[in-house]
Amino acid sequence: MRKSYLIPEFRVEIDHTRCRRCKRCIMNCSYEALSFSDRVVADHFKCVACHRCIVFCPENVITVRKNPVDFKESFNWTNRHRLDIWKQAETGGIPLTGMGNDLPYQIIWDHLVLDACQVTNPSIDPLREPMELRTYLGKKPDSLQFEETADGKIKLKEKPPKNIKLEMPVVFSPMSYGSISLNAHKAMAMTAKEMGIVMHTGEGGLHKDLYDYSDYMIVQCASGRFGVHAEYLKRGIAVDIKIGQGAKPGIGGHLPGEKVGLDISKTRMIPIGTDALSPAPHHDIYSIEDLRQLIYAIKEATNYKPVSVKIATVHNVAAIVSGIVRAGADIVYLDGFRGGTGASPKIVRDHVGIPLELALAAVDDRLREEGIRNQASIIAAGSIRSSADAIKAIALGADAVAIGTAALVAIGCRVCQTCHMGKCAWGIATQRPELARRLDPEIAAERLINMLKAWKFEIKEVLGSLGLNAIESLRGSRERLRGIGLDAQTLDILGVKPAGK
């Protein structure tokens, strides 16, 4: 084999004086970076900084460091550029990556601050007062009409459209069974049920083990139509049509054949070992009218359950969403350019799309201007890292947020960005039984529930400080946000004043 020009990204250091040679680290390293020859030795090349060995070493003697080897400094030719070129020069292929865009674009969330009440219009004590975090996703009628029944009672003339009830304005984002393990799906399903929220199945169908949780599932219909059949559509409480994903706008899904094992093949309903290609376009959708046709085909098949349409945030997003809402979508799922992924060409992940914050504000404005904001709910997604991001998203105009990476981090993910290799040491982004087993769904659910409970407390605290007692009162309330260090144009798009004004 020819010599690679790459150098290791990390160094695994073991304090051999304290190591008791139990080999636990070796067993835990799914990337095979560690081996034993009279003591533990590391192949630094293979380390991805997943930290599994560090966490499971009983002696706490492992350190993983960024490889301190210096490159000749260049602001322009970053190490990232050099490493990518070497990879391309060696393989002739497109570098793939997992997780979200990690380039240092400005993160607008971190330049927005929230308001609080002082003296007048007092704040509310969430420990004492009830706080309403319940949110309903779906079309709200333009107006309500009532009629009197024979026995003199007043009732609604028309049945309102079906909505999804959420006990807090958070849902799990679509991560397919295939991209992540069944145990990860189980953990999210249990959490969704416990917390009164919902999860998305993603485009991989619904495993039979999760049928009991289908009241907490939004099922997905992507271009490849994997696992999509009448029963699947009817099981979900809503159906999401996947048009795009923040980490790869305009790019389809592609589950490599080696990940399509027995169970995945059953759920996706394709033979073992074939590539599951879900190209970017639905080849039956070339216009808003075509999208409308699919939305209504699904509504007809599901007795008019809510239909959501998921798109990546791109330049003309407001106009696109206006079309989607007019096509009959009940929910619009906006996935920002920092959204996570199981696998995406690095070039697309890092350079295509626009920030969620701007898209969200633009979409909310446009729908309000057109008088159709009530016709669809907006889910904001694409790297919601904390309850603070969630609150700010709601103040910018979202009805709820979706979390993917944050949920995975709660259950062990170290954001090592190698999900596409299928070797996830934490049993999350893998289908290898010996690795998937590492994720205990019960324990993972407990961690997720804890995280969401913490977020719930945090959201209530902030609402209280804002003098609000219902999350719905915050939606689109941009007056309660101020920008710091954002240029005038960005502030204008956000509809947010600079701090001090």
């Binding site: 570098p95 033979p271 085909a297």
Partner: protein
């Protein structure tokens, strides 16, 4: 509840949503086994998502997404059909006695679509098969571009039965991205029109037997002469690899 074996619905001037409600009511509440729809004129989504063993006979031209997500029924269209017949269909049968249009059998996973005449563009895209469920689309006339694109399983056939029709049997980009299943064309295919993921292989005796069974059924359903159909040689098109994009990425 009153049970009825057969029901006739006059679809004239009825909005599709109402028509489909009537159909579902007939199937699920009245337990009808046979439903005849007269004067159908472009109503969409007929048979959509229906999971039952029933027969629906359509007189008139049904609208788009006929039999979408369908799982079980037999639909007989005594006229032409429009776009997206059998979209993501799971099981059942659709027989169209006239022509049909674009995106037939998109993502279809089981069942049969038999069309007597021509079909449009993008037919059989993303068709799949899983174990014993194998979908079939057979078109008696000619097909447009992108036939069987991204096809992952199942059987697509174009018969070109009208010998006086001189148009090519299929269009460009035949089987592009195809990684499973098989396409049979009755007659010659211009290799220039093939996607680079597919190739032509010998039509064997075994193909003749297996595919012949379905063709017999097709001929019976559409009142055609089976021997006449079999009188011409077939071209068999299959994917070269089931991992056409396996080498696109580095790591």
């Amino acid at each position: 509840m009153e049970k009825r074996e057969k029901i006739v619905i006059d679809a004239k001037g009825i909005y599709y949503r109402e028509l489909n409600e009537k159909i579902r009511d007939a199937i699920y509440n009245l337990k009808c086994k046979e439903i005849h729809l007269n004067n159908v004129n472009g109503q969409r989504y007929i048979g959509d998502g229906i999971e039952a063993k029933v027969t629906i006979v359509i007189n008139g031209v049904p609208g788009n997404d006929l039999a979408a997500f369908m799982n079980g029924p037999t639909i007989i269209v005594n006229d032409n059909a429009q776009d997206a017949v059998g979209n993501t269909m799971n099981n059942g049968k659709v027989i169209v006695k006239g022509h049909s249009s674009d995106v037939i059998g998109y993502g279809m996973r089981g069942g049969k679509i038999f069309i007597k005449g021509d079909v449009g563009y993008r037919v059989g895209i993303h068709m799949k098969a899983y174990k014993n469920t194998v979908p079939y689309i057979i078109c008696g006339g000619r097909a447009g571009d992108f036939l069987g694109e991204y096809m992952a399983g199942g059987v697509l056939a174009v018969l070109g039965l009208d010998e006086n029709d001189n148009r090519p049997l299929t269009g460009d980009y035949l089987g592009t991205g195809m990684h499973g299943g098989v396409i049979y064309i009755r007659g010659e295919v211009d290799e220039r029109t093939l996607g680079k993921e597919v190739g032509i292989v010998d039509f064997t005796e075994k193909d003749m037997q297996e595919f012949g069974k379905i063709l017999k059924e097709y001929a019976d359903d559409l009142d055609l002469d089976f021997d006449e159909i079999m009188s011409k040689p077939f071209t068999k098109i299959v994917p070269i690899s089931h991992r056409p994009y396996g080498k696109l990425y580095s790591y």
